[in-house]
C-alpha cells in the first residue's frame, strides 16, 4: 500500500512538471496575436514607461494606486502594448534602487519614482545613469535627467477649507496631519487660510499624528476633535485618516452631525457619502499621464531637470464631481469663485502655516 502511495506521489510530481511545461506555451501565443494586431496600425507607439511604488504598494488607495491608474489610462488611450507600462513594488528601503535600476538598465523611456520617500534614491540612480530619464512625484530631485512633479496642495486645500468654513455649525474644525513634512504643511496652510477666508472667527484645531499608517491613532485623534465640538475634520494622513472616517461613522450612527473631508482621491467612493463631505483630490494620475505623454511626444527636453508645479490652473488639485451630492449649490458657487480668483492670481494661498 505504501509503495503505491510513493509511486503515486512521484507520478503526481512528474505530472505537475509536465503541466508547467504545457502552461508556457499559451501566453506566448496570446502575445503573438497581440503583436500582429498592433502591427496593423500605422506607427504604433512603442514607448515603455515604468513606475516604482514606495512601500505603500500599488493598492494603497492613495497616490501609488493613483499613479498606476494614470499609467494604465495612458496605455489605453495611446494604444501602447500592455507590456509597455509596468510597475514594480518596493517592500522596503533596500528595494528602491534595484527597482529603479531595473527599468533604467532595461532601457525604458521613462521611470517614475512615486513619492517623497524615494527622492534620494531617484537622485542616486539618475547620477549613475546620466542617459536615463526619470521622474518623481512629491519631491524635488536636482539632476539634469529628472523631472520633478510637485502639487500646489495649498490651493486645493484652500477650497476644501472654504467648504468647511461655510458649512460648519459649531465654528470648530479639525485638521489631522500625518508626518510633519513640507507636503503636509502645505495642506495645513491652505486649509486654514480657506476656512478663515469665509469664516474668520472659526477655530481650526491642528494635530499631527506622526504617522501615515496608523488608523488607530487617526481614530483617537478624531474622537478628541469631535468630542471637543468640531463637526468637520480634514485629514491629510494617508491610511491614518481611515481611522478618522471610522470615528465619524461611529458618531454618525449615534445621530451626531459630523463630517470628514478626504484626501488624494475621491474618498466618498471608499467611505460613503454619509460621512464624506468632499475630498481634496491630488491628481497624481493626471500628472503621471501628462509627463509620460510629454516624453512619448518627444518633449522631454522641455521638462527634464525642471520642477513642474501643478495647481488649480493645471487641474492638478481640486474637488471631485461627487461633491455636488453632499455640498449645497450656493457653497459650491463660492468655491468656484475662489477657484477662479486663485487661478487669476487675485488670491495667493500661503504655502506655510502662519504662526
Amino acid at each position: 500500500m505504501k509503495k503505491v502511495f510513493s509511486v503515486l506521489s512521484v507520478a503526481a510530481l512528474s505530472l505537475s512538471l509536465v503541466l508547467t511545461g504545457c502552461g508556457s506555451k499559451a501566453p506566448e501565443q496570446g502575445q503573438g496575436g497581440q503583436a500582429n494586431a498592433g502591427g496593423g496600425q500605422a506607427a504604433a507607439p512603442t514607448a515603455k514607461i515604468g513606475m516604482v511604488t514606495d512601500v505603500g504598494g500599488v493598492n494603497d488607495n492613495s497616490f501609488n494606486q493613483s499613479a498606476w491608474e494614470g499609467l494604465q489610462k495612458l496605455q489605453k488611450d495611446t494604444g501602447l502594448p500592455e507590456d509597455n507600462v509596468k510597475y514594480l513594488q518596493s517592500t522596503g528601503d533596500a528595494d528602491y534602487i534595484p527597482n529603479l535600476t531595473q527599468f533604467v538598465k532595461d532601457g525604458w523611456d521613462l521611470t517614475w519614482g512615486i513619492g517623497f520617500l524615494m527622492g534620494d534614491h531617484v537622485k542616486k540612480v539618475a547620477e549613475e545613469n546620466p542617459d536615463a530619464k526619470l521622474a518623481i512625484i512629491d519631491s524635488v530631485v536636482e539632476a539634469p535627467n529628472v523631472a520633478s512633479v510637485l502639487f500646489k496642495e495649498n490651493e486645493g486645500a484652500f477650497l476644501v477649507g472654504v467648504v468647511a468654513g461655510s458649512m460648519t455649525k459649531t465654528n470648530k474644525i479639525g485638521f489631522v496631519g500625518g508626518i510633519d513634512i513640507p507636503v503636509i504643511k502645505r495642506f495645513e496652510a491652505g486649509f486654514t487660510a480657506g476656512v478663515k477666508a469665509v469664516k474668520p472667527d472659526a477655530q481650526v484645531m491642528i494635530v499631527y499624528t506622526g504617522a501615515f499608517d496608523k488608523p488607530d491613532l487617526g481614530k483617537s485623534t478624531a474622537s478628541q476633535m469631535y468630542g471637543s465640538g468640531a463637526d468637520i475634520v480634514f485629514h491629510a494622513a494617508g491610511s491614518t485618516g481611515d481611522g478618522v472616517f471610522n470615528e465619524a461613522k461611529d458618531r454618525k450612527s449615534k445621530g451626531e452631525n459630523v463630517w470628514v473631508i478626504g484626501v488624494d482621491k475621491d474618498q466618498s467612493l471608499t467611505f460613503g457619502k454619509e460621512i464624506t463631505l468632499t475630498s481634496m483630490m491630488k491628481r497624481v494620475d493626471e500628472a503621471v499621464e501628462r509627463v509620460s505623454k510629454d516624453v512619448m511626444e518627444g518633449k522631454w527636453d522641455s521638462i527634464k531637470g525642471k520642477t513642474i508645479n501643478l495647481g488649480l490652473a493645471e487641474n492638478g488639485v481640486g474637488l471631485p464631481e461627487t461633491s455636488k451630492d453632499t455640498v449645497p449649490e450656493d457653497v459650491l458657487k463660492v468655491v468656484e469663485d475662489y477657484k477662479q480668483k486663485i487661478i487669476k492670481g487675485e488670491i495667493k494661498v500661503p504655502e506655510e502655516p502662519t504662526k
Partner: protein, 357 residues
C-alpha cells in the same frame, strides 16, 4: 572520490532540504499556473534578474549578506536549545547603534568603521542578552520576550531617530560620515554600482567563527551540551543559566553586526521604519533550512537571497506578483519543517540507492 561526493549529495541532511526546495518551487509553479502565469518563464526571469547582469548579481550578494548574519544568529541560539525569534530586533539595534556612531563621531576610517561595527554588534548582543537574562533569572520563555523585544527595538529606534538623528521634515537620518562607510568602491564599480560592502566578507568570517566557537572550544561544547540536555549538563557541573545568556548574547552579536553592515555598507543612513526590515524573520527560515550548521546557513541565505531579490525580476519579466515568491519561500520552509512528508517523496530514491549498494 566520486563516491564521496555522491555520499554528500545523498546524505539525509542534504537530500531533505534539496527535495524541500524542489517541492517548494513546484508548489509555487502550481500557484502560478492557477493564477494564469507561466512558471517556466517566471523562474527563468528570476534567474535572469539574479545572474543576467553584473548589477543584479552584485545586488543579490547585498541581499544575501544580512541573511547570513541573522541566520547564524538564530542557528547559534538554537544550538543551545533556544529559539531566537529576536534576530529582527537585534538587527535593528545594530543598525541604530552603528548609525549613531557613524553620524556623531569623527574618526579616521581605520578606527571609525570598525568601532561603528563593534558598537552595533554589542547593541545587538545586549539586546539579545536581555531575553537571555530573563530566561536565566526568571524562566521567562525566550520566544515571548524576543518577539516583544522586536517591537520594542523598532519603536525605540524610531524614537531615537526622531529625537536625535533625523532632521525636521525628513524620513531619513543624516548620512553617516565618509570614514564610517564600508562600501567597497572599486568592487561596486566592477559590479555596475551594485552596493557591495565589506560586510559580506565579515559574514563569511562570522560563519567560520560560528564553527570554531561551537565545535572547537570548551565554551562551545558547553553551549551545545546545554542545548542537547540542560539537565544532564547541570548535573555535569555546567552553569546552564550562564550558557543561556551567553548563547543569546553571541546570537545577538551576529545579528547586530548584520544590522551595522546594512547601515554602513548599503544605506549610509537610517530611515524611520514603519515596519520591520524582515531579515530577522527570514533568518529563522535560513537557519532551519541550513540545519543550524554554518555551511547550511550560508547556503540557505544564498537561496533566500536569490529568491527574494529575483522576485522583482519575476514581476518584471513574467508579470507574476512579487507576493508569489513568498508562497515559494513559505512552501520551502513548510517542507523543511515537515520533513516527514519530504522523506515520503524521496523514499523511492533512497530505496533504490540501498538496493544498488
Amino acid at each position: 572520490m566520486n563516491s564521496k561526493i555522491r555520499n554528500i549529495f545523498l546524505a539525509d541532511s542534504t537530500l531533505v532540504p534539496l527535495a524541500a526546495i524542489l517541492l517548494g518551487l513546484i508548489t509555487g509553479a502550481i500557484f502560478m499556473l492557477a493564477g494564469g502565469f507561466d512558471p517556466i518563464k517566471a523562474y527563468g526571469s528570476l534567474l535572469d534578474k539574479v545572474f543576467g547582469t553584473s548589477y543584479g548579481f552584485g545586488e543579490t550578494i547585498r541581499q544575501i549578506t544580512p541573511l547570513i548574519f541573522t541566520g547564524l544568529s538564530v542557528a547559534f541560539a538554537f544550538r543551545t536549545g533556544l529559539f531566537n525569534i529576536g534576530a529582527e530586533g537585534q538587527f535593528i539595534m545594530g543598525m541604530l547603534a552603528s548609525a549613531y556612531v557613524g553620524i556623531s563621531f569623527d574618526l579616521p576610517f581605520i578606527i571609525h568603521a570598525p568601532l561603528a561595527i563593534i558598537i552595533g554588534a554589542l547593541a545587538g548582543g545586549l539586546w539579545g542578552a536581555i531575553a537571555g537574562y530573563l530566561k536565566a533569572a526568571r524562566g521567562v520563555n525566550e520566544v515571548i520576550t524576543t518577539i516583544m523585544l522586536n517591537w520594542t527595538a523598532l519603536y525605540f529606534a524610531n524614537f531615537i531617530l526622531n529625537a536625535f538623528l533625523v532632521p525636521q521634515g525628513k524620513q531619513n537620518s543624516e548620512p553617516v560620515k565618509e570614514s564610517a562607510i564600508i562600501t567597497i568602491g572599486w568592487l561596486s564599480d566592477m559590479f555596475d554600482n551594485a552596493r557591495l560592502h565589506w560586510g559580506t566578507l565579515l559574514a563569511l568570517i562570522a560563519a567560520v567563527v560560528f564553527y570554531i566557537l561551537l565545535w572547537k572550544t570548551k565554551t562551545g561544547f558547553e553551549l551545545r551540551a546545554v542545548g542537547l540536555n540542560p539537565h544532564a549538563s547541570e548535573y555535569a557541573g555546567m552553569n546552564v543559566n550562564k550558557n543561556v545568556m551567553n548563547a543569546m548574547f553571541i546570537g545577538g552579536l551576529f545579528a547586530g553586526i548584520g544590522g551595522a553592515c546594512e547601515t554602513l555598507g548599503v544605506f549610509h543612513y537610517m530611515s524611520i521604519m514603519s515596519a520591520m526590515p524582515g531579515y530577522g524573520m527570514d533568518g529563522i527560515a535560513v537557519a532551519l533550512i541550513g540545519g543550524n550548521t554554518p555551511i547550511g546557513v550560508v547556503l540557505g541565505a544564498i537561496l533566500f537571497g536569490i529568491l527574494s531579490f529575483g522576485a522583482s525580476g519575476m514581476k518584471f519579466g513574467a508579470g507574476v506578483p512579487v507576493e508569489l515568491i513568498r508562497v515559494v519561500i513559505a512552501s520551502v520552509i513548510f517542507f523543511v519543517a515537515a520533513h516527514g512528508i519530504v522523506r515520503y517523496f524521496i523514499k523511492p530514491l533512497l530505496a533504490r540507492q540501498k538496493e544498488e549498494s
